[in-house]
């Protein structure tokens, strides 16, 4: 399994799918976040590996 973390929420997804597919799977809008692993950006077509911990950074701001 791989883990996606957005602020105080955590989502578990199956390893072997792309980041884009994983975001869609947990109903997150891919355009609204940037994914990082150990501080380095992860691209949407990257395949998630077992044990991956992906930190998602929300990019939408405004009021």
């Amino acid at each position: 399994m791989a883990k996606l973390i957005l602020r105080n929420k955590e989502f578990e997804v199956k390893a072997g799918m792309t980041l884009l597919a994983a975001l869609k799977k947990v109903n997150l809008i891919p355009e609204s976040v940037i994914a990082t692993r150990a501080g380095e950006m992860v691209l949407e077509d990257e395949i998630l590996k077992d044990g991956d911990v992906i930190k998602l950074i929300a990019v939408i701001s405004g009021g």
């Binding site: 355009e31 609204s32 990082t36 950006m41 929300a58 990019v59 405004g62 009021g63």
Partner: protein
């Protein structure tokens, strides 16, 4: 960057962004290297990235931070102020700071509460106060231009909101450059063609420390709702946000935003083939379509060779 059909490594991305900013500064005639620039900095990704880029490009850019006095249980204003000061110190840049409570006696949330403006949210008062103070400082300190970090998502969300209710006057005013007039400083938006996500990526890749937390009052705001809608569209149709904004700018520039007069004046005449009205000089579009398909199919059904 699916909207550009472009993929870059980190180093090239960090070169590409300033190059594009420079291109847009020139294209929209925003300012020159001889002019004094005031950058409105909030401690967020866009404004800090913009300040970083302008400095890298060699512009004379000072910063201005407005202390809004918003806490929201996370010390929002204190933290954004700290990050802005830290950025200025690290890069040896000049930063002007205006604290709303010190200057006017009340922080923004209280100012909104006592003035009963904004339906329980301080966003309208906050926007008004920021516009007022940015212009005051730019004018009083003799800056030639006020620069803000509005990105394409900001602009597309405003455009979307104004289009939904056909705010003609606002639509005609929106653009990368608002010229100086009647005591208002020139305002420009060099990031107006970058996606919000691109600016976040730039800040992260450059190691810029910015405030990740959203303003506590922004939750549930209309602009964020519109941004989310547009991002759903973008996910399904890469480039949709960029096209929406660029086609708007093009239509505005060419005077095609509201075309009622010219549409009414368009001359219609009878198609020489079918007699139905058409605005083209020759056959109507339908007859041209039939003619084209007939030629490729080798004649009309009754005309084909036996």
């Amino acid at each position: 960057m699916r909207q550009h059909k472009l993929a870059l490594c980190k180093d090239h991305y960090l070169e590409w962004v300033p190059e594009q900013v420079e291109r847009f500064i020139k294209k929209y005639e925003m300012f020159t290297r001889e002019e004094k620039i005031l950058v409105a900095v909030s401690g967020g990704k866009d404004s800090l990235a913009l300040w970083d880029i302008l400095t890298r490009l060699g512009y004379q850019a000072d910063g201005m931070y407005i202390g809004l006095g918003i806490d929201g249980g996370i010390g929002y204003s204190d933290e954004s102020h700290r990050l802005t000061e830290e950025f200025a110190r690290k890069h040896n840049l000049k930063l002007h700071v205006v604290d709303m409570a010190q200057e006017y006696g009340l922080p923004i949330p209280v100012l909104a509460e006592v003035s009963h403006r904004g339906k329980g949210k301080p966003c309208a008062v906050c926007g008004l106060a920021k516009r007022h103070e940015m212009n005051r400082i730019a004018r009083d300190l003799g800056y030639d231009v006020l620069v803000t970090g509005h990105n394409l998502d900001d602009e597309a969300a405003v455009l979307f909101g104004n289009t939904l209710i056909w705010e003609g006057e606002y639509l005609l005013r929106q653009g990368p450059v608002l010229p100086a007039r009647d005591g208002l400083a020139r305002k420009v938006k060099p990031l107006c063609r970058f996606y919000e996500r691109e600016m976040a990526a730039y800040s992260i890749a450059r190691g810029i420390e910015y405030i990740y937390e959203e303003c506590p009052f922004a939750e549930g705001s209309q602009s964020i709702y519109y941004k989310e809608l547009l991002n759903q569209l973008e996910t399904a149709r890469p480039g949709a946000k960029l096209t929406f904004y660029l086609r708007f700018l093009e239509a505005r520039k060419n005077g095609n935003l509201f075309v009622e007069k010219s549409a009414a004046a368009a001359h219609l005449h009878a198609c020489p083939k079918c007699g139905q009205p058409t605005s083209t000089d020759d056959f109507c579009s339908f007859c041209r379509l039939i003619e084209k398909t007939t030629v490729s199919a080798g004649g009309l059904p009754g005309e084909r060779g036996n």
